[in-house]
C-alpha cells in the first residue's frame, strides 16, 4: 500500500497542512475579528487578539450605511452566474471538438488560447474599453459579463478537453454505429458522463468570474445599480473615515453564499479532480 505513513511522517504532514491553512485562513479570521468590533476600538494599542466588546452591530449597520449592499451582492452572483453559463455553453462543444475531432491548426489554436491567458485583463483594459464603447455596452451588465466570458473560455477549454479525452472512444463509436449524430452523442452520452468534469470546470470558471469582476466593474461601469460587491464595497470608504468593521462584515456576507455552494459541491470537486487518474 502506498498510503501508509509512519507516525513521524503524519506529524510532518499535519504541521505542513496547519501552516498552509493558517497562512490562507488568517486573513479571514482577521476580517471576522475586525467586523465584530466597534470602529474606535480597532486602532487601539496595545493590539489585543481577543476583547470583550465583540458584537454583531456592524452586520446591522452596514445595510444602513450602504443601502444598495444587497443589490451589490446579488449583482455579483448574477454576473458570475451569467459568465459561468455563457462560458460553459461555448466551452462544452469547443472542448469536445478539441478532444475528438481533427482539424487544421488544432494544436496551434490551443496554444494561442493558452497564450491569451497570459495577458491579464488589465493589459487589455483600454482596447476593451474602446470595443465596448463602440458596441454601446458601457455601463451595462454586458460590460462586465462579456470580457469575463472571453477571458475564461481558454482555461475552460483546456480543463474540459483533458477530461473529455478520458471518456472511452468506443462509447462514441458504439453510438455512431447505432446511428447517433455527433450532437446526439454529445447530449446523451458524453455530457452525462462528463458531469464531474463539468462541475470542476464550472466551479473554476465561477471563481474566476467572481475574482475578475472588480477590474471590469470599475473600468467599464459607472452605474451604481449594476455594481458587483467588490466595487460596491468602496462605498464604505468615506470622506472622513473608513468604516473597516462594516466593510469586513459586508465582505464576509458577500462571500457566504459562494462558500455555501462550495461546501455542497465539495465531494464532486474532489471526485472530478481525480477522476480518470486511475484505470478502473
Amino acid at each position: 500500500m502506498m498510503d501508509r505513513y509512519t507516525f513521524l511522517q503524519k506529524v510532518g504532514i499535519y504541521i505542513a497542512i496547519a501552516a498552509f491553512l493558517t497562512f490562507v485562513l488568517l486573513p479571514f479570521f482577521e476580517m471576522f475579528r475586525v467586523s465584530l468590533r466597534p470602529l474606535d476600538h480597532l486602532m487601539s494599542t496595545p493590539f489585543r487578539f481577543w476583547s470583550d466588546d465583540f458584537s454583531f452591530a456592524a452586520y446591522k449597520q452596514m445595510w444602513i450605511s450602504v443601502p444598495l449592499l444587497g443589490r451589490y451582492i446579488l449583482n455579483s452572483i448574477f454576473i458570475a452566474t451569467s459568465v459561468t453559463t455563457l462560458t460553459m455553453i461555448v466551452v462544452i462543444p469547443a472542448a469536445y471538438a478539441y478532444a475528438r475531432l481533427q482539424f487544421p491548426f488544432k494544436a496551434i489554436s490551443l496554444a494561442v488560447f493558452l497564450g491569451v491567458n497570459m495577458f491579464t485583463g488589465a493589459v487589455l483594459l483600454i482596447p476593451l474599453y474602446r470595443v465596448l464603447r463602440t458596441l454601446g455596452l458601457l455601463n451595462t451588465y454586458w460590460a462586465m459579463i462579456i470580457p469575463g466570458v472571453a477571458f475564461l473560455i481558454p482555461t475552460g477549454i483546456w480543463l474540459l478537453r483533458s477530461y473529455l479525452e478520458k471518456i472511452p472512444r468506443e462509447l462514441e463509436e458504439a453510438a455512431y454505429v447505432d446511428g447517433a449524430s455527433r450532437m446526439y452523442t454529445l447530449r446523451r452520452v458524453v455530457i452525462p458522463l462528463a458531469v464531474p468534469g463539468l462541475i470542476v470546470v464550472a466551479t473554476s470558471v465561477f471563481i474566476g468570474a467572481y475574482a475578475q469582476q472588480f477590474l471590469f466593474a470599475i473600468a467599464f461601469n459607472n452605474q451604481r445599480e449594476y455594481q458587483p460587491l467588490p466595487a460596491g464595497i468602496f462605498e464604505f470608504v468615506g470622506y472622513q473615515q473608513v468604516t473597516w468593521n462594516e466593510m469586513m462584515a459586508a465582505s464576509l456576507t458577500g462571500i457566504l453564499p459562494v462558500m455555501l455552494i462550495f461546501l455542497f459541491l465539495q465531494k464532486y470537486l474532489i471526485a472530478g479532480l481525480t477522476a480518470g487518474a486511475v484505470k478502473e
Binding site: P168, E170, E173, A174, Y176, D178, G179, L193
Partner: protein, 365 residues
C-alpha cells in the same frame, strides 16, 4: 439476403500498409471468424466493414448493394465492441433501447422490441439495473442485446469474449453459436483465439500481416493448411515444424531426412521440390505415436489426465511436442521414440507453401 462481399480492400495508415487487397465473399447466414495474431489487420478490417474506418481502396457490398460510402446504419450492420461500450449512466433497458431511441421509434414498439431482445438474452429481470451492477457475462449480453434490437443484416463482433474468464468464455461461445442459429443472421467475428475460431465458425479467415492466408471451414484449415503459417496457427498444441532435407523425389512422394537421421517417405505432390532441397515437415502433436522413428529427449511433461503433452528436443536441438496417452510411463529426462505417421504429415516448401497431401482424411462436417 445478407451476403457480404469485400472487393480488393486495402488500407494504409500513412506509409504503413495494413491491409493488402482483401477479397472475400461471405455467404448469407454464415458465421465467419477472422483470426490471426495481433497486428494482422483483423480488427481494422472489421472496422472498415462497420464504417468506423474508411478503406483506402476497394468496395464493400452487403446484400448486393455497394455500401462503401454508407453510414453504418444504412449498411445494416451492428457491432459488439471488445470493451462492451455500454453507457454506464443508462439502465440496461436504455442501453438496449439506445439504437431505437436514435431512430425515434414509438414507445410501445420500442418496449416490445427491447423486451424480446431481453428475453432472448435472459436479461428480463436485469432491465432496471445499471451496467456497473452486472457481471462480465451479463454486460456482454447487454452489448449483444443492443446489437440485435435493430435487426441488422450483418452482426460484427470485435473480440467480444476476451474480457471474460476462461469458464465464462466457454459458456458464451455456446450461447453465441445458439444465438447465431436462432437469429439466422450473417455474423463476422474477430478473435486472436484459434479455439474460438475452430469452435464457432462456419468458415475461418486466417489473416497474417494484412493478407488472407486461407479462407475455409475449420476442418479444411486443420487438414489442408495452405501455408506454414496456417498450419502453425490452427490446432492446439501447435503443429511441429521439423527441418528436413529431400533425399529423393519419386512417384510415391518425397523421401526426406529428419533431424536425428530418421528417413520418411511422405505421400505428397512434390511440386517444384527437387532432391537436396530443404523442406519443413509438419506433424501435429496428436498424430505422433510411440514407435520407432524420431528419438527425443523429454524435457517437460504436462499431464492433463486424458493426454500427456510431452515437450522434448531432437538431436540437433529441434523442439518437438507430442500428445501421448495420459498414462504414458515416461518421465522428464527419458529418451523416447516417436513414430511419424506419414499419411498425417504435412510438407512445406521453402516459400512456406504446402505440398498437397494425397492421403488426407475425408473432411467432416
Amino acid at each position: 439476403m445478407a451476403t457480404l462481399d469485400l472487393n480488393n480492400i486495402s488500407k494504409s495508415f500513412g506509409n504503413t500498409r495494413v491491409l493488402h487487397d482483401i477479397d472475400l465473399a461471405i455467404r448469407d447466414k454464415e458465421f465467419v471468424v477472422f483470426v490471426g495474431p495481433s497486428g494482422c489487420g483483423k480488427s481494422t478490417l472489421l472496422r472498415i466493414i462497420a464504417g468506423l474506418e474508411e478503406a483506402s481502396a476497394g468496395k464493400i457490398v452487403i446484400g448486393g448493394t455497394d455500401v462503401s460510402n454508407a453510414h453504418p446504419v444504412d449498411r445494416g450492420i451492428s457491432m459488439v465492441f471488445q470493451s462492451y461500450a455500454l453507457y454506464p449512466h443508462l439502465t440496461v433497458f436504455e442501453n438496449i433501447a439506445f439504437p431505437l431511441r436514435v431512430q425515434k421509434l414509438a414507445d410501445a414498439d420500442l418496449r416490445t422490441r427491447v423486451g424480446r431482445a431481453a428475453e432472448i438474452l435472459q436479461l428480463t429481470d436485469k432491465l432496471d439495473l445499471k451496467p456497473g451492477q452486472l457481471s462480465g457475462g451479463q454486460r456482454q449480453r447487454v452489448a449483444i442485446g443492443r446489437s440485435i434490437v435493430r435487426n441488422p443484416k450483418v452482426f460484427l463482433f470485435d473480440e467480444p469474449l476476451s474480457n471474460l474468464d476462461a469458464a465464462l468464455r466457454g459458456d458464451m461461445r455456446v450461447e453465441l453459436s445458439q444465438l447465431h442459429r436462432s437469429l439466422d443472421a450473417t455474423m463476422v467475428y474477430v478473435t486472436h483465439d484459434q479455439v474460438e475460431a475452430m469452435t464457432m465458425a462456419d468458415r475461418i479467415v486466417v489473416l497474417n500481416k494484412g493478407r488472407i492466408e486461407q479462407f475455409g471451414t475449420p476442418m479444411e484449415l486443420y487438414h489442408h493448411p495452405a501455408t506454414k503459417f496456417v498450419a502453425g496457427f490452427i490446432g492446439q498444441p501447435n503443429m511441429n515444424l521439423l527441418p528436413a532435407t529431400v533425399k529423393s523425389v519419386t512417384s510415391s512422394g518425397i523421401t526426406a531426412v529428419l533431424p536425428g537421421d530418421a528417413v520418411v517417405t511422405l505421400p505428397v505432390e512434390p511440386g517444384t521440390v527437387r532432391q537436396g532441397d530443404q523442406i519443413e515437415v509438419g506433424i501435429r502433436p496428436e498424430d505422433l505415436v510411440a514407435a520407432k522413428g524420431l528419438r527425443a529427449t523429454v524435457q517437460v511433461m504436462e499431464r492433463l489426465g486424458g493426454v500427456s503433452i510431452t515437450y522434448g528436443v531432437l538431436p540437433g536441438g529441434t523442439r518437438i511436442c507430442a500428445a501421448l496417452p495420459g498414462d504414458t510411463p515416461v518421465r522428464e529426462g527419458d529418451t523416447i521414440d516417436l513414430g511419424v505417421p506419414v499419411d498425417a504429415a504435412h510438407a512445406f516448401d521453402q516459400s512456406g507453401a504446402v505440398l498437397r497431401r494425397r492421403n488426407a482424411p475425408q473432411i467432416a462436417g
